[in-house]
């Protein structure tokens, strides 16, 4: 057969690898800063500028690690592995470059806009609508390039790593589009199309599957390629990898509601989430064992080779967090873990251990290959391995400890039936754990610097191989599958069919969960006394979203005695019907705010936002002095009310024209009340709007006539 000569381009994988390491360092550094902020509020620098407060920094950290560090890691693997597995160069070099620079541009836009306070207020999907559109375009460019490569391949069979890449691509596209339905209000402001319970369900269907299809499945593709390469032996069981793939994507998509246990989400959806999460143990552990068993007979190499060391711990961490995840989905365990540092520990076992170590292993293997050199120092790489492992432990253990400690303190009652501890007591006892955690993160980051030095030295000692020559025969047009492989020939050789099947498989889960919540009205019983926000409250709510208050405060009281006693009546689904977006939050570094309205006077909030410790000694909340200088953006009131009504919030027709009059009237009332408490402030300052919003939260239900 005539062999065709072609070249693998190494420049694109090199670009992505550099970007991956660079953004990884930035993302982790921001994480370390955010971690120290929780222990030392002065590091928020909020007296000097509003841009670096925890509420704004933490989304930059999470987005940077997920989409910049892991994202570029995925693309490094895809652009290196796919051409070699399919025996063809990437389809289009221009598209590769557009993909690379487009993605980096998105990252820069994301970092800048998030720090400036442009956010949708939905976790891991904080980016505003123009960036959402940009992401869609670049994702499609990536898809076209990947499928172009697949269609021009010289190898009929798609290796399992490629399946994982295809399923990840199509599912991330679906998740991103569905969760990003939003109605633009201005250039950098939009409201989520969904409200309250529905918004929460869509968001966590997205949020959970972002973990599944951005942090997990593409990295499993990476594992199935680079682990056998590094161990120099094929994967333990290719058959198992087939089962792993289909069952994993089948089950994963259903598990999202486990993020909303004991919330106002309908019970049936919570149960579905739990059931599928438990089932997920099987495929996850199948995959983990497949990875570990690949090293059968090669364990001696693990002692020597830093690449394999990283891979072994990465796959082990994958196994640990995929066991922990289902356990956290049990309602009784979730009662402890939800809103606590346990969740933070759980995701960092995944992010530092699985994604981090997988990436480091890949880099230590790949960079010497790309530069045709030997790794500069194995010793240094081993040192990185031990430092990284220590970092993970020092990060996770204090978080687990802190979670249980705060749980037991939160639910402690005195014999006479009073809560034993104030919220601030709990905060104070966990601050030391925050310090240790931050040290753990710092140690992990030091390891990364060792790697950077090691890899630069390696690159300097070799010569970059711009392209590698290879040859293979083209695919025969008329191909008859060998006997006995009918099923196999049906799917595995047909990338489009694989794409469509994956989409159907993941689509079913989404539809079954989402549609009933939208269609069955009774799922969200309406409460007559719940009314839309006033214009001033709406502006205040947008300030609440801008400052990322949801990063530390939930607005969802679960039906437990210790929560109802502490915060007030538990939250009902019908209370959130006008919340575009929902602000239930996922972590309580500060107390829940679902019933904060009218709990304190306006002057309390005024003093508290200016200097939290003046009202709550020992508080670790940043201060917000800029809210006392910035004026309320009244120009936007009109389009905000208009957008809300378009989504079904019952403001009267033509109300947008007179909304600002109501806004000013309510603001005047608040300033008048403050004046009685000897506080002088102009009524057009942002703090007034925020106070109006805070005083409204959770109060409507109290107007409900007693039955």
């Amino acid at each position: 057969m005539n062999q065709e000569k072609f070249y693998y381009d190494n420049k694109i994988p090199r670009l992505f690898a550099i970007a991956c390491i660079f953004w990884g360092t930035v993302g982790m550094l921001l994480g370390v800063i955010a971690a120290f902020q929780l222990a030392f509020p002065v590091l928020n620098f909020s007296e000097y500028m509003p841009y670096l407060t925890f509420g704004r920094l933490r989304p930059v950290h999470t987005n940077a690690v997920i989409f910049a560090f892991v994202g570029n890691g995925i693309f490094t693997a895809v652009y290196y592995a796919i051409p070699r597995l399919l025996k063809t160069p990437m389809w289009n070099r221009a598209l590769s470059l557009i993909h690379f620079w487009g993605w980096q541009f998105i990252i820069v836009c994301a970092a800048v806009t998030l720090l400036m306070g442009y956010t949708t207020g939905k976790e891991y999907a904080e980016l505003e609508w123009p960036i959402d559109i940009l992401i869609t375009i670049i994702w499609v460019v990536f898809g076209i390039n990947m499928f172009g490569t697949i269609f021009t391949r010289r190898e009929r069979h798609l290796y399992v790593a490629i399946w994982f890449f295809i399923a990840s691509w199509v599912t991330v596209a679906m998740l991103h589009i569905v969760n990003s339905f939003e109605i633009p209000v201005s250039f950098m402001k939009s409201y989520s199309w969904y409200a309250g319970v529905q918004d929460a369900l869509v968001q966590w269907w997205y949020g959970h599957n972002a973990v599944a299809f951005f942090l997990t499945t593409p990295y499993l593709g990476l594992m199935y390629y680079f682990l056998p390469k590094a161990a120099d032996r094929p994967v333990y069981s290719y058959r198992l990898s087939i089962v792993h793939f289909w069952s994993l994507i089948f089950l994963y998509i259903w598990a999202g509601p486990h993020h909303l246990l004991y919330t106002a989400l309908p019970d049936w959806a919570q149960s579905v989430g739990t059931a599928f999460s438990i089932m997920l143990i099987l495929p996850s552990w199948g995959g983990m064992l497949n990875g570990l068993f690949t090293l059968r007979g090669a364990w001696d190499k693990v002692r020597e080779d830093p690449v394999l060391k990283f891979f072994v711990v990465a796959v082990t961490c994958y196994g640990m967090s995929t066991f922990e995840g289902p356990m956290l989905s049990l309602k009784n365990v979730n009662a402890i873990s939800h809103y606590s540092d346990w969740t933070v520990a759980h995701v960092h076992i995944g992010a530092l251990g699985w994604n981090g170590f997988m990436t480091f292993g890949m880099m230590y293997w790949l960079i010497p290959k790309l530069f045709n050199a030997k790794l500069y120092s194995r010793k240094l790489a081993s040192a990185h391995f031990w430092i990284g492992t220590l970092g993970i432990l020092l990060y996770a253990i204090p978080m687990y400890w802190s979670a249980f400690r705060s749980y037991f303190m939160m639910k402690a009652f005195t014999p006479s039936g009073q809560l034993e501890y104030e919220f601030i007591d709990v905060v104070q006892t966990v601050v030391p754990f925050y310090v240790i955690r931050a040290v753990g993160g710092t140690i992990f980051l030091i390891g990364v610097f060792l790697m950077i030095y090691n890899l630069i030295k390696t690159a300097q000692s070799g010569d970059f191989v711009e392209s590698e020559e290879a040859s293979a025969a083209p695919l025969v047009k008329e191909y008859t599958a060998p006997k006995n492989s009918i099923w196999h020939s049906l799917i595995e050789r047909k990338p489009l069919l694989l794409l469509v099947l994956s989409l159907i498989v993941v689509g079913i889960g989404g539809l079954v969960e989402l549609i009933p919540t939208f269609l069955v009205k009774e799922n969200i019983p309406t409460i007559a006394s719940v009314k839309p926000y006033t214009p001033l409250e709406l502006q205040g709510r947008d300030i609440y979203i801008r400052e990322g208050c949801y990063n530390c405060h939930s607005q969802m009281i679960r039906p437990f005695r210790y929560e109802v006693t502490r915060y007030g009546e538990y939250s009902k689904a019908g209370e959130f019907v006008y919340d575009h977006p929902f602000q239930w939050g996922s972590k309580r570094t500060g107390p829940d705010l679902a019933r904060i309205g009218k709990k304190y006077g306006d002057s309390w909030h005024f003093n508290h936002m200016l200097e939290p410790t003046s009202m709550a000694p020992g508080s670790i909340m940043p201060s917000y002095p800029s809210m006392y200088e910035n004026t309320i953006d009244k120009v936007s009131t009109n389009s905000k009310i208009h957008a809300m009504r378009k989504m079904g919030v019952p403001y009267p027709d033509g109300y947008e024209a007179i909304a600002n009059q109501d806004l000013e009237k309510q603001a005047m009332q608040i300033t008048k009340g403050l004046k009685e408490n000897k506080i002088e402030i102009a009524s057009d300052k942002e703090i007034i709007a925020l106070i109006a919003y805070l005083q409204r939260i959770g109060t409507d239900i109290k107007l409900e006539p007693k039955k």
């Binding site: 070699r84 290796y159 094929p234 290719y238 069955v520």
Partner: protein, 55 residues
């Protein structure tokens, strides 16, 4: 809130869980069947695809 209350209003709803269960079972049975039908030689070739660039 009980979801079953709303489900009972759909006529013939009792068939739904049976259908979905059979879909699951059929899907996985087919997959496992397919997996075992894969000829060993074929598997060996595919699982060695990552090493083709060495040749």
């Amino acid at each position: 809130m009980k979801f079953s209350t709303y489900l009972t209003q759909i006529s013939g709803v009792s068939i739904y869980p049976i259908i979905s269960l059979s879909m699951f079972v059929v899907f996985f049975v087919l997959m496992i069947f397919w997996m075992y039908r894969l000829p060993k030689k074929e598997i060996e070739r595919i699982e060695n695809l990552p090493f083709d660039d060495k040749k």
